[in-house]
């Protein structure tokens, strides 16, 4: 039986992990992820989870342990944030190249220097090319549900790719919401025990993993990895449909629209800021302004088809980036812009950079973004809620 609880994003993730029955969790603490791993270590130590919790000495080791356990067929979870994700980053392409279905929570946080513990999405963008599926969630319920869905996705034999669930630091990890915790039996039937993938080891099937491939073979490995990544779209949709049948909730596929069908202007968001943007869209609609929203749930693989379809005939599109690629523009913008260009989109695109290092993104900021879109005014790249002019 499912039950309702008042959980923060970290606890919701911990519950999602608990219900998914991983064999191994390896983690090193870092703010704002700590509450998730503390909760998981207590689930393990009080016997509520039958799982090995590995108290490793660093994130680098957390990823290496995860690679080890996943290579021998164990369902494996890890969690980190910011500097920790960066310290892990050597292992990330290693895991994805070896096609290991590890699932990770990344509590999105700014990166040093200057030091800052608050939320933005610089960390995730830093590892966008690591070969991991990059998923962004809007609230605690989605975080819990996507842990369960992500194991199913990662372990699918057509996919076999690790998944990073991005949960905005503090805004999601530390705020409490009413969350439905599904019953264990229902989760067990939705997400059965991990099946042995043909390329992984067990005691009946000894083999050498993570081998070398010279210039005669390397490229084929990489292009296959790239092609398989695109299969995520279809699988995610089908997993979500099954999820809805079992749990009565759907989160959609790679991208989701909100009041976008007839919109003149559209804002593209990732993660928790989508919630604020919905409120602004509603109030603009009340004033007769045709504003709409597209929430990107996946950044890798990048959902070009869905995005183009959701944007439709909107005359201008703004992309909200909680990150910046120094010397260019926001990374989500680069991706959206390139994909829309390929699809032949003819409207104007704007890049709204906001929320770095935990700076608030207020309703007023989002209203300003929409007015820039409506009037098609100002520079292509604009910065919001700056404390001083630079």
């Amino acid at each position: 039986m499912s039950e309702f609880a008042f959980l923060n994003g970290n606890e919701a993730v911990a519950w999602g992990v608990r219900l998914s029955r991983p064999h191994v969790i390896a983690a090193y603490p870092i703010t704002p992820q700590t509450k998730a791993v503390e909760k998981l270590s207590s689930f393990v130590q009080n016997g509520e989870m039958d799982c090995k919790y590995l108290h490793v000495e660093s994130e680098h080791s957390a990823m290496a342990c995860s690679i080890g356990s996943s290579s021998v067929g164990a369902r494996t979870f890890t969690a980190t944030s910011s500097q920790g994700l960066l310290y892990m980053s050597e292992g990330l392409p290693y895991a994805s190249g070896a096609r290991l279905p590890i699932v990770m929570m990344n509590a999105n946080r700014s990166i040093a220097t200057p030091w800052n513990i608050y939320g933005d999405q610089m960390d995730a963008m830093h590892v966008l090319n690591s070969g991991w599926v990059q998923l962004f969630v809007e609230d605690a319920q989605e975080a819990l549900d996507m842990v369960i869905q992500s194991f199913k996705l990662a372990e699918n034999h057509d996919i076999l790719t690790p998944v990073m669930i991005n949960v905005d630091g503090f805004v999601l990890t530390h705020t409490y919401e009413k969350v439905e915790i599904p019953g264990q039996e229902l989760v067990d039937s939705f997400l059965p025990a991990i099946e042995k993938a043909p390329h992984l080891m067990n005691d009946q099937d000894p083999m050498s993993l993570c081998i070398s491939a010279g210039n005669q073979h390397y490229m084929e490995f990489k292009i296959k990895q790239h092609r398989d990544m695109f299969k995520v779209f279809e699988q995610l949709e089908s997993i979500d449909r099954d999820f809805e049948k079992s749990f009565g909730r759907s989160h959609g596929g790679a991208a989701a629209g909100y009041r976008n069908e007839d919109a003149d202007v559209i804002l593209v968001t990732t993660g928790s800021v989508t919630g604020t943007a919905r409120v602004v869209v509603d109030s603009l609609r009340e004033q007769g302004i045709k504003a709409g929203l597209v929430k990107l749930r996946l950044l890798r693989p990048f959902p070009s088809d869905d995005l183009f379809e959701l944007i439709g005939k909107a005359g201008a599109v703004g992309i909200l980036d909680k990150n910046i690629s120094f010397g260019f523009e926001g990374t989500v913008y680069t991706n959206v812009n390139s994909s829309l260009l390929q699809k032949g989109y003819r409207g104007r695109t704007f890049n709204f950079i906001a929320g770095l290092g935990g700076r608030d993104i207020t309703k007023e900021n989002i209203e300003e973004m929409f007015s820039a879109l409506l009037e098609q005014k100002g520079e292509t790249v604009q910065y919001f809620n700056m404390g001083c002019a630079l």
Binding site: E38, S41, E57, E59, Q83, A112
Partner: protein, 250 residues
């Protein structure tokens, strides 16, 4: 009656409200360091490499130059600074997570190279800054946020003794473990820090001072009890004293 000045705030210590919790050992160690810097007259020459941990803000207190290293990287950053400025006094100030978990590699290799730096290691048996998770130096059976039923040494290993481990290396010139649980030991800690800095000034090489310290907040006890716990629980496992005094000739 004539007035006699018997105590002032060390010049090397900034006048600042502390952000450390009541009973936290970092404040004591900062003050000892500042006093020693005054006594040796090295304030202008000192560069402090701060860790990631509660003492990340050491630059707010000690009136010297400083660099904030990434978590665990302080001895490597110190190496870079010292090799460029052999005439400066370079201090790597670190907690147990920083020095003995994520930074173990840097710790061992800076010591093994015999870098002419001084490492001050504040061992409070927990990750203070992140809210009290198990550290490599957490005591057996000690309750932390990630060991809610106590550290199970069969599963996660025994607490690591840094001084003993570094004492297996040939290069270090000075290794001592002290404590701040009472006044007598605070004085000894000051002497040890002074020696570590004097060694560096004399160009002798790598010095390491481990200070057994308190984290009342994450241990969940009052400051006085925390000091008592250092004495009764930590000192027996982490024996105090000098492990290395002179450079070994091999």
């Amino acid at each position: 009656m004539s007035e006699e000045l018997i105590y002032t705030r060390p010049e090397s210590l900034r006048e600042r409200k502390t952000h450390y919790c009541p009973g936290c050992g970092h404040g004591i160690v900062h003050k000892l360091l500042a006093e020693v810097m005054d006594e040796l007259g090295i304030r202008e020459e000192t560069i402090i490499i701060a860790p990631v941990g509660c003492s990340v803000l050491i630059y707010d207190y000690i009136n010297a130059d400083g660099i904030e290293a990434a978590h665990g990287r302080a001895p490597a950053v110190a190496t870079g600074v010292k090799r460029v400025h052999p005439d400066k006094i370079v201090i790597s100030y670190q907690g147990d997570g920083d020095l003995l978990a994520i930074g173990t590699g840097e710790t061992i290799h800076a010591a093994n190279r015999g870098e002419n730096i001084s490492v001050i290691f504040v061992n409070n048996a927990i990750y203070g800054m992140t809210g009290g998770q198990m550290a490599p130096t957490t005591m057996s059976d000690q309750i932390t946020k990630t060991t809610p039923y106590g550290r199970n040494v069969q599963d996660v290993g025994y607490p690591i003794r840094a001084c003993e481990m570094l004492n297996t290396l040939a290069a270090p010139v000075y290794i001592e473990r002290t404590s701040i649980h009472d006044v007598k030991n605070i004085r000894k800690t000051k002497k040890a820090i002074k020696k570590a800095l004097q060694n560096q000034m004399d160009g002798k090489g790598y010095s390491f001072v481990e200070v057994l310290s308190t984290c009342p907040t994450n241990w969940g006890v009052a400051p006085v009890k925390a000091a008592k716990w250092v004495e009764t629980a930590m000192v027996p496992y982490y024996p105090l004293g000098v492990f290395r005094e002179e450079k070994e000739t091999v």
